[in-house]
C-alpha cells in the first residue's frame, strides 16, 4: 500500500495511506454543506453604464484626494512641537458596575453627570447611579443584542434598540411597581438592526443608524420619520451629533470604511472621508466641532479636520493589533480615549500623536466608552459583563 508522507509540522511527519487520503477527501466533501446560491454565483457582469459610473466615481474620488492634499502644508505633530508634553498619567478604575448577565454593548451618560444607562446582549437595559453603583431602573427588551442606548437630555427617558430593528423610548418612572415596558414607545423602524441612537438637543427627536445602511431622524411623539440619510454602501455602525452653534450636522461611520458628515435638515451628505482600512466602529466630534475622531477595526484612530477637509492625524502603534471599538475625547480635546478589542484602553495625546498611557482591567473586549458630560471621568462597558468608571 502506497504511503504518502505528509508534512504536518516543522519536525513531525505523519504517514497516511493513499486509500485513507481518498476516503478522507470524499468524506470531507460529503461533510461540507452544498454551496448556497450566494456562494455559487460569480460576479454578475455589470452592465456597461454601471461600470462606467463606477469608474467615474473612483476617478473623481482620487481627484478629490489630490485636491485635499494640496493645502496640507504641515502635520499636526509638527505644529504641536511647541506644546508641552504630558507627564505621568494615572487613571484607575473608581467604580465597577456589576449586574448585567451578558456582554455590555452600549452605554450613555445622563446630563446630571453621574447616572448612566447601559444595554447588553441579553436584552437588559439598566439605569445606574454610577456614583453609588445602585441600579435605579431595569428594562428587559423583547430582543437580544441591544446594541444602542441613549439617555434623554431631560434625564426622564432612555432610548434603546438592536436586533428588533427598532428604537424605543422608555419614560423613566420612579414608581417601583410600574413596569417600564408598559409605557414603551416605538419610535424608529429600520429594515435591519439598530446600531446606534442619540437624542438631539431635546427629548423630542432621535437620530438613529442601522445595519440597513441608512441613518434617520425621527419625531418621538408621533414616531414620524423626519429625514433619512442615504449614502453609506454598507451597515452604518455609529454616529455623533455636532456641537456646533447652528447645530445642524452629524457624522456617521460604517462598514464601508467611510465617515460621512450630514446636513440634518436637507438629508445631504456634505463631506465624506474614506481613509480607514476597515470598518469604522466609532465616531466622535472634537469638542469645538471643527473635527472628529474615528476608531476602526484596522486598529487605528484617526482625526479628520472639517475645515481642511482631510485626515490630519493617525493614532496607531505597532504593538496595537486589535481593533478599536469606541473613542471619546477628554473635555479639552487634548486626550483621546480608545476602547480596544484586546481588553485595553489606550490614551492618546491628540496633538502630538503619541500614546500617553495604556489601561488594563477589563477581562474581555471593551465595547463602549464615553467621557462624562463634565469630563471628570469616563465609563467603559465590556464583554466581561461589567462597566467601569475611570478617573
Amino acid at each position: 500500500m502506497k504511503k504518502n508522507k505528509i508534512t504536518l509540522t516543522n519536525n513531525i511527519t505523519c504517514f497516511l495511506s493513499n486509500s485513507f487520503l481518498v476516503k478522507m477527501k470524499t468524506s470531507l466533501k460529503y461533510m461540507r454543506s452544498p454551496p448556497t446560491p450566494e456562494m455559487a454565483t460569480q460576479e454578475v457582469p455589470l452592465n456597461e453604464t454601471l461600470a462606467h459610473l463606477k469608474t467615474e466615481s473612483e476617478t473623481l474620488k482620487s481627484k478629490l484626494e489630490e485636491e485635499r492634499a494640496k493645502l496640507h502644508d504641515v502635520e499636526l505633530h509638527q505644529v504641536a512641537e511647541k506644546v508641552e508634553g504630558l507627564g505621568q498619567f494615572v487613571m484607575k478604575t473608581r467604580r465597577t458596575l456589576k449586574g448585567h448577565g451578558n456582554k455590555v454593548l452600549c452605554m450613555d451618560w445622563c446630563k446630571d453627570k453621574r447616572r448612566i444607562v447601559s444595554s447588553s446582549q441579553d436584552g437588559k437595559v439598566i439605569v445606574w447611579d454610577a456614583f453609588t453603583t445602585n441600579k435605579e431602573h431595569a428594562v428587559t427588551m423583547p430582543c437580544t443584542w441591544v446594541m444602542a442606548c441613549a439617555y434623554a437630555p431631560s434625564g426622564c427617558a432612555v432610548a434603546c434598540g438592536g436586533l428588533d430593528n427598532k428604537c424605543s423610548v422608555y419614560p423613566l418612572s420612579l414608581d417601583k411597581n410600574e413596569n417600564l415596558a408598559a409605557k414603551k414607545k416605538s419610535v424608529a423602524m429600520h429594515t435591519n438592526y439598530l446600531s446606534a441612537c442619540s437624542f438631539t438637543n431635546s427629548d423630542m427627536q432621535i437620530l438613529t443608524s442601522s445595519g440597513d445602511g441608512t441613518c434617520a431622524l425621527w419625531d418621538v411623539e408621533s414616531g414620524q420619520l423626519l429625514q433619512s440619510f442615504h449614502g453609506h454602501a454598507a451597515d452604518v455602525l455609529c454616529l455623533d451629533l455636532a456641537p456646533s452653534e447652528t447645530g445642524n450636522t452629524f457624522v456617521s461611520g460604517g462598514c464601508d470604511k467611510k465617515a460621512n458628515v450630514w446636513d440634518m435638515r436637507s438629508g445631504q451628505c456634505i463631506q465624506s472621508f474614506e481613509t480607514h482600512e476597515s470598518d469604522i466602529n466609532s465616531v466622535r466630534y472634537y469638542p469645538s466641532g471643527d473635527a472628529f475622531a474615528s476608531g476602526s477595526d484596522d486598529a487605528t484612530c484617526r482625526l479628520y479636520d472639517l475645515r481642511a477637509d482631510r485626515e490630519v492625524a493617525i493614532y496607531s502603534k505597532d504593538s496595537i493589533i486589535f481593533g478599536v471599538s469606541s473613542v471619546d475625547f477628554s473635555l479639552s480635546g487634548r486626550l483621546l480615549f480608545g476602547g480596544y478589542n484586546d481588553y485595553t484602553i489606550n490614551v492618546w495625546d491628540v496633538l502630538k500623536g503619541t500614546r500617553v498611557s495604556i489601561l488594563f482591567g477589563h477581562e474581555n473586549r471593551v465595547s463602549t466608552l464615553r467621557v462624562s458630560p463634565d469630563g471628570t471621568a469616563f465609563c467603559t462597558g465590556s464583554w466581561d459583563h461589567t462597566l467601569r468608571i475611570w478617573a
Partner: protein
C-alpha cells in the same frame, strides 16, 4: 465590532486582519537574526527542542516594541490566547507566565487562521483519539461533546474511529519528544477552537450576519450617481490650509486645559476619586454663586454662554438693561420650534409671529427686510425650519454685538469677581476610610414631582396624565 459580517468564503474579516498581524509578530519572533533565542527545555525526563521561557517572550516584546513589561505581558498573553504560542507545563491553561515556564511556537498547520473554521469531523477524530489512547482521559465536558457528536455524525462514525486509530498508530512510530509536541500542539488548537465551558471564547466575534455586506445597499446606478454628485460638490468646496486649522486645535486645548478635570484635576476634588460630591453641588445648574472657572468659560464663546443656564440668565439680565432682550427671547422661541414636538410647530410659529414679527408686536425683533420677507412667506406654510434664517440673523447679531459688550460690562466683571474658587480638599487623615456615597434625586423624580405639582394646581380631581400612578 459587535456585528460581524462574513465576507465571501466565510472568513470573518475583522478576525482575519488580527490573525495576520499576530502572525507577523510570530514570524518576527522566529527570525534567525532578530528573533528569540530558543533552547532545549526539559519536561520531566524528555528534552523538548526550540522552546523558550515566558520571561524571554516578554523581554523580546518589550525590546522590539519599546513598551512596558506590563504591556508586553498583555500582548504575549494575547498570542497565547489565540494559540500562536502554547505552554508546555500546564498545557490546559493558556496563560503567559512571566517566569521560567516553557513555551513553544504553534505550528502553522494548527494556526486557527489556517484551519478555519474548525471542523466537527476533525474534533470528533481528536476526541476519539483521546478516548482510545487512554480510557477515561476525556474531561467531563469532552465526554459530553463526544456523545453529542456521536449522535450528530453517526453515519461517519466508523470513519472517525478508523482515522483516530490510524493516527494513533502513526504517532507511536515517532520519537517520544515529537509525540509529546504534537499532542500539545493539537490540544492547544482544540482548547481555542472548542473552549471548555466557563472559558472565554476568544474566537467569539459577536453577532454574525452571513450576508455579504453589499447585498444590503444595492450598488446600483443611483448609488454611483449620488457618489459622483457628492464628489463634484466636494471638489468645489473651500478648504482651509492645514497650518491654520491645526493651530486651532492647539489654541482650543490650551484654553480649556484648566477646565479639563482629567488633565488638571478639579476643585475641590474629583467626586469619583474622593467620593465627595461638592464639585457637583458647586457646579449645579443654578447656584447662588457660580465658580470662577465657570464664569470664565462664558467668555470663551457665545455658545458656552448660552449653553449654561446661569450664563444665559445673566445675559438676559444684561440685555434687559440694553432693551434688546427680545433678541434672546426670539432665539429661544426658535430653538423651541426646532427641537420641539412636531404637533406644536404650527401653534408655536403663530406665537412667534404674534410676539416678535408682526408689525407693532410687543417684542418686535429687528431683522433685515430680505430675511423678514422670506420668513413671512415661509410662515404661510409653517415647518420645523421656517425660522432658521431669522434665528441665525439674530444669533449672529447678538454674538457680534451684545455678547462682546456683555463681557466688558460691569455685570460680567462683578460676577467674575464674586465667583468662588473652591479650596482643594486636603487628603483625609484616615485615607482608608471611605466616605459615604450619597445618592442624589433622579432627574426623572424632579420632573415627575414638578408635573405632579402642576397637575394638582390645575385642579384636584381632574385626571392629569402627568404624575398619576398606574
Amino acid at each position: 465590532m459587535t456585528i460581524n459580517t462574513l465576507a465571501k468564503g466565510g472568513c470573518h474579516r475583522e478576525q482575519m486582519a488580527c490573525f495576520r498581524k499576530m502572525e507577523k509578530v510570530i514570524v518576527a519572533m522566529q527570525d534567525p537574526d532578530m528573533g528569540m533565542k530558543m533552547r532545549n527545555q526539559r519536561l520531566l525526563i524528555t528534552v523538548i527542542p526550540h522552546a523558550m521561557t515566558g520571561h524571554d517572550i516578554i523581554a523580546w516584546l518589550t525590546h522590539k516594541y519599546r513598551i512596558s513589561e506590563e504591556e508586553s505581558l498583555h500582548l504575549g498573553n494575547m498570542l497565547v490566547k489565540y494559540g500562536y504560542i502554547y505552554p508546555l507545563k500546564e498545557p490546559r491553561c493558556l496563560v503567559l507566565r512571566p517566569d521560567e515556564s516553557p513555551y513553544r511556537f504553534q505550528t502553522p498547520y494548527f494556526w486557527t487562521s489556517t484551519r478555519w473554521p474548525a471542523s466537527e469531523l476533525d474534533y470528533a477524530i481528536y476526541l476519539a483519539k483521546k478516548n482510545i489512547r487512554k480510557q477515561g482521559e476525556l474531561m467531563e465536558y469532552e465526554k459530553e461533546r463526544y456523545s453529542l457528536l456521536h449522535k450528530r455524525i453517526n453515519h461517519t462514525w466508523d470513519f472517525v474511529v478508523m482515522q483516530a486509530r490510524e493516527q494513533l498508530r502513526a504517532s507511536k512510530q515517532r520519537r517520544k519528544a515529537d509525540r509529546i509536541v504534537l499532542e500539545c500542539q493539537e490540544q492547544a488548537y482544540w482548547l481555542i477552537n472548542r473552549p471548555p465551558p466557563g472559558v472565554n471564547n476568544v474566537l467569539d466575534t459577536g453577532l454574525e450576519r452571513p450576508n455579504n455586506f453589499s447585498c444590503r445597499v444595492t450598488l446600483n446606478s443611483d448609488y454611483y450617481k449620488r457618489e459622483i454628485e457628492a464628489c463634484r460638490k466636494a471638489l468645489g468646496r473651500n478648504r482651509v490650509k492645514s497650518s491654520i486649522c491645526l493651530e486651532g486645535f492647539l489654541k482650543y486645548s490650551e484654553q480649556y486645559l484648566n477646565h479639563d478635570p482629567i488633565m488638571q484635576g478639579c476643585l475641590p476634588s474629583n467626586p469619583w476619586i474622593s467620593d465627595d460630591t461638592a464639585h457637583w453641588t458647586m457646579n449645579a445648574e443654578i447656584v447662588p454663586v457660580p465658580t470662577r472657572l465657570r464664569v470664565e468659560r462664558w467668555s470663551f464663546s457665545f455658545m458656552e454662554l448660552l449653553n449654561d443656564a446661569m450664563g444665559r440668565r445673566e445675559f438676559m439680565t444684561y440685555l434687559e438693561k440694553e432693551f434688546s432682550a427680545e433678541n434672546l427671547y426670539f432665539w429661544q422661541a426658535c430653538e423651541d420650534i426646532r427641537h420641539g414636538e412636531s404637533s406644536k410647530i404650527v401653534e408655536k410659529v403663530e406665537d412667534i409671529y404674534k410676539n416678535f414679527l408682526a408689525p407693532g408686536a410687543a417684542r418686535w425683533v429687528n431683522i433685515d427686510s430680505k430675511t423678514m420677507d422670506k420668513t413671512l412667506e415661509g410662515i404661510k406654510r409653517p415647518h420645523r425650519f421656517v425660522m432658521d434664517d431669522a434665528q441665525m440673523h439674530i444669533y449672529f447679531l447678538m454674538k457680534k454685538d451684545s455678547y462682546p459688550r456683555y463681557l466688558k460690562s460691569d455685570l460680567y466683571k462683578n460676577m467674575l469677581a464674586k465667583a468662588i474658587v473652591p479650596q482643594e480638599t486636603k487628603k483625609s487623615v484616615f485615607p482608608f476610610m471611605r466616605r459615604q456615597r450619597h445618592s442624589s434625586p433622579s432627574p426623572a423624580q424632579t420632573a415627575t414631582q414638578a408635573a405632579e405639582e402642576e397637575g394638582l394646581a390645575k385642579g384636584a380631581g381632574a385626571n392629569s396624565a402627568a404624575g398619576s400612578h398606574f
